[in-house]
């Protein structure tokens, strides 16, 4: 059978699995969305206040922090996975958390990966707000808090784009979560395919394992199709907000 046949058969089976709401596929999709969603929320709660602090407050080491954030935007996921793994193993400094091969560990790894991305893009969006807007707030009697609020309003679409970029990166990420999450699914077949229900298996890690098993391309293609739809959806949203900015 040629690669094209595999692809066509895979797409047909993928549609059957998706339209049939296969529990294995659904559970993997659910874990992906949950882990990436929570990591994105936590990263957003850190990144946006951090971006505003850097933009509005002068402090020692500010330039160093910006350099660190810029470096963090290009962190290799595998390295982050290894770093988090070494932190959370029982003998590591965070071993007491007992989160090796859990979703919490995956959230932690994704949080480390995407916080610099959201912060960096938010910083650029805030910087793009004309200085004259902030000066107008002050000259009209506003305080620094008012200036922050007005800047947030002006930069809102850029900041939303930053959050969506973080979510897109988290959804598509594989290296870090594979190391710290272990790609675990409960044993036992569900609906004739896969390995039961996902514990720490996501769309990306499942594609890796299904493909490496050397046969179940249709499941891989189904997972890939869902992943692309999710990432595409996120990017369409990001483009929409960029156009409005």
């Amino acid at each position: 059978m040629s690669s094209t046949d595999f692809l066509i058969q895979g797409i047909i089976k993928a549609l059957e699995l998706i339209l049939g709401l296969n529990p294995y596929i659904l559970s993997i999709t659910g874990v992906s969305i949950k882990v990436s969603g929570i990591a994105t929320i936590l990263a957003t709660l850190t990144a946006i206040p951090l971006a505003f602090t850097i933009s509005f407050i002068h402090f020692r080491g500010k330039q160093g922090l910006i350099t660190l954030i810029n470096t963090g935007m290009g962190l290799p996921p595998v390295f982050v996975g290894l770093f988090v793994f070494l932190m959370i193993v029982p003998v590591g400094p965070l071993g007491f958390l007992n989160i090796v091969y859990t979703r919490e560990a995956m959230i932690l790894a994704q949080y480390i990966l995407i916080t610099p991305i959201i912060t960096g893009i938010s910083l650029a969006a805030i910087k793009a707000v004309p200085r004259s807007i902030i000066e107008t707030v002050y000259t009209l009697g506003g305080t620094q808090k008012d200036a922050v609020i007005e800047t947030l309003k002006e930069a809102r679409f850029g900041i939303i784009t930053a959050v969506l970029a973080g979510l897109g990166r988290a959804l598509a990420e594989v290296g870090a979560i594979l190391i710290v999450g272990g790609n675990i699914a409960r044993t036992g077949s569900v609906g004739g395919i896969g390995e039961g229900l996902s514990e720490t298996r996501t769309l990306t890690t499942a594609i890796t394992s299904e493909t490496s098993k050397g046969g179940d391309f249709s499941t891989s293609i189904a997972l890939g199709f869902i992943l692309i739809c999710l990432v595409l959806g996120v990017n369409i949203l990001a483009n929409f907000f960029q156009r409005r900015d």
Binding site: P130, S132, I133, E135, T136, V137, Y138, T139, L140, G141, G142, T143, D146, E150, K153, E154
Partner: protein, 239 residues
């Protein structure tokens, strides 16, 4: 007229350039004081210092009968920029901004915004997106935003520089009306000499960061004390 702002021995340096030096000036309550001078003379920097956007390297500024805290002085002043920054919101929200940050009651805000828009000739435009206004309308809306909370001092930086003659006349009428009706002290930076003739009470000529002459409007135009003042007023370039 009573003295409102006292500037003593003011100096400002940017890098190695002395932008303002030895500025001594008294600005009186309720007057229209115009700074004139060529581009780069230091007019905008002086206004920015008065509104606390720049800190002088030397000298003092005293605001009579004002609480010395920056926020308190700022809340009794307003600075209108040459090109106004418009918030991405309705005309109403833009004009109401200064009142909202002061925690003014909603009904009073509605009345004051309506009154301010009437003064600047933009009645009934509250709901329009402010960023869809023409250049002249935007400047007049910015004027309404600057006067809506009755500032004691209005600082104007080249307020008509980019406007057509009709809008220039409207803005000048607004300036005179505000001074006459509200006794607002108005400090205007401009290089538009005919405009100074039309609206100013007193004039200060800034040249290379130095205030070379302060005089009444009549004095400046009929008997200037400094030969450089005369050259500038007569349209000769002086540096």
């Amino acid at each position: 007229m009573e003295e409102l702002i006292l500037i003593e021995n003011l100096q400002k340096i940017f890098g190695e350039k002395e932008v303002l030096r030895n500025i001594d000036l008294r600005i009186l309550q309720g007057e229209i004081f115009a700074f004139i001078g060529p581009s780069g003379a230091g007019k905008t920097t002086l206004l920015r210092i008065l509104n606390f956007f720049e800190i002088p390297d030397k000298g003092n500024i005293k605001f009579k009968e004002m609480n010395p805290e920056v926020i308190n002085i700022r809340r009794r002043m307003s600075l209108l920029f040459q090109t106004p920054a418009i918030f991405n919101n309705s005309v109403f929200e833009n004009v109401a901004y200064g009142l909202k940050v002061r925690g003014i009651d909603k009904k009073i805000i509605e009345k004051k915004v309506g009154d301010a828009l009437n003064i600047v000739g933009l009645p009934g435009m509250e709901k329009q997106n402010a960023r869809t206004l023409s250049g002249g309308e935007a400047q007049r809306m910015a004027f309404a935003r600057a006067i809506v909370y009755d500032p004691q001092v209005l600082l104007l930086d080249e307020p008509t520089a980019n406007l057509d003659p009709a809008n220039v006349m409207k803005i000048e009428e607004i300036i005179k009306r505000i001074r006459n009706e509200r006794a607002t002290t108005i400090v205007i930076a401009t290089h538009n000499i005919p405009q100074v003739r039309r609206i100013a009470d007193r004039v200060g000529i800034l040249l290379n960061g130095e205030l070379i002459e302060v005089n009444s409007k009549e004095g400046i135009f009929s008997k200037p004390k400094d030969a450089r003042s005369e050259a500038f007023i007569n349209g000769e370039m002086i540096y």
